[in-house]
Amino acid sequence: MIAAIRKIVVQIDEVRTEMGRAVEPPTRRAVAMAVIANPYAGRFSDNLDLLTSIGEELGGLLGAKCVEALGIQPERAQSYGKAAIVGEGGELEHAAALLHPKMGATLRQAVSHGAALVPSAKKMGGLGTAIDVPLGHKEAAFVRSHFDAIEARVSDAPRANEIVVAIAVTDSGRPLPRVGGLQVHEIKGQDGLR
């Protein structure tokens, strides 16, 4: 393990009713967060390979944590997303190094497959900063019922030399979706979009 992890937090959010209407089956979203040391805190580095490798590790680790927390087979995962909050001793590009080059591949393995882009968000932040992790259907980015987001936040992180890395996985779309658009049963699953 390259990542120096201080803390891992996993949350499950299960919605059973909305505006008095039963949600059957309940929607369930998981978000797994790792608080890691930022190996490039406090200095400029052209090369960010360490963070790219850490991103590869965490895609698998946090993706598996979400699937385990949901208590599902990886094939049952429906949507996903990723995000990072960089402490003030780092720079936004550190989040990009974690999230973009290699994290997607290991996350897709953790949820068995994923043709769609993994939607993402990044920001600088202090202790307790919250980030809204975007969610999209893992096989077709245009599935409207699965456009969503879930908040990630660790109360005592990131310290200045830390980064909070979050991955979210669901086994469902929004509760009571009814704004039309591409439906799950209409997914062609060829281009990751529709």
Partner: protein
């Protein structure tokens, strides 16, 4: 009368807090039921009977949290509880959680009532009062939930707290009832005081 809108579970593993990495990470967790507040928006004098209806919620949350922590009930070392009441409610609605939340959790952790034991001091699980906090607040409010050792409140190594926050809840007409548990003491505890192996009185305190 019980309408649960959301169940929110939070599990964390702490590997270090800038001290030596511990061989086995400290696991702590929280669970919240976001429910409709049946008394929201008006003053209801007689709310106490609702505690009876909340009893199964307390037991259910305790069991779900133990399952989420992926451990046996006997592995739990400390606990706490809390309530966040939405804006159309009053603090007293949070106080409804004391008995059903506390006793539900203690029951799930092996506590036996005086009626079963015949009363008096006894070694056993979940003898200590469950520490608590409560507040009236808006969606996404944070609450710091105290944690103390489940057999003796004065065990210094286990005096702790965990922050709980449910994004988007509670709405004005809702209340979030919360239970928290930990599988161990503070990650780098080193301040002495009463130790777990020094519990003698089995009175829930020392």
């Amino acid at each position: 009368m019980i309408t649960i809108r959301r169940l929110f579970t939070h599990i964390e593993d702490i590997f270090h807090e800038f001290g030596p990495v511990v061989p086995k990470p400290l696991r702590r967790g929280a669970i919240a039921a976001v429910m409709t507040n049946p008394f929201a928006g008006r003053f209801v004098p007689d709310i106490a009977p609702f505690m009876e209806e909340l009893k199964p919620v307390g037991l259910m949350l305790a069991k779900k949290l133990i399952a989420g922590l992926q451990c046996a009930a006997a592995d739990i070392q400390s606990y706490g509880k809390a309530a966040i009441v939405g804006a159309a409610g009053e603090l007293e609605h949070g106080a409804l959680w004391h008995a059903p939340g506390g006793y539900g959790m203690r029951e799930a952790l092996g506590w036996k009532s005086d009626a079963v034991t015949g009363g008096g001091a006894q070694p056993g699980n979940a003898l200590a009062i469950v520490p608590s906090t409560k507040k009236v607040a808006g969606p996404g409010a944070t609450i710091d939930v105290p944690l103390t050792h489940l057999n003796a409140s004065y065990i210094r190594s286990h005096l702790d707290a965990i922050e709980v926050r449910i994004p988007g809840a509670p709405a004005a007409d809702e209340v979030a009832y919360i239970l928290v548990m930990s599988l161990g003491p503070r990650i780098h505890e080193r301040l002495g005081g009463l130790r777990v192996d020094e519990i003698k009185r089995w009175d829930g305190q020392r």
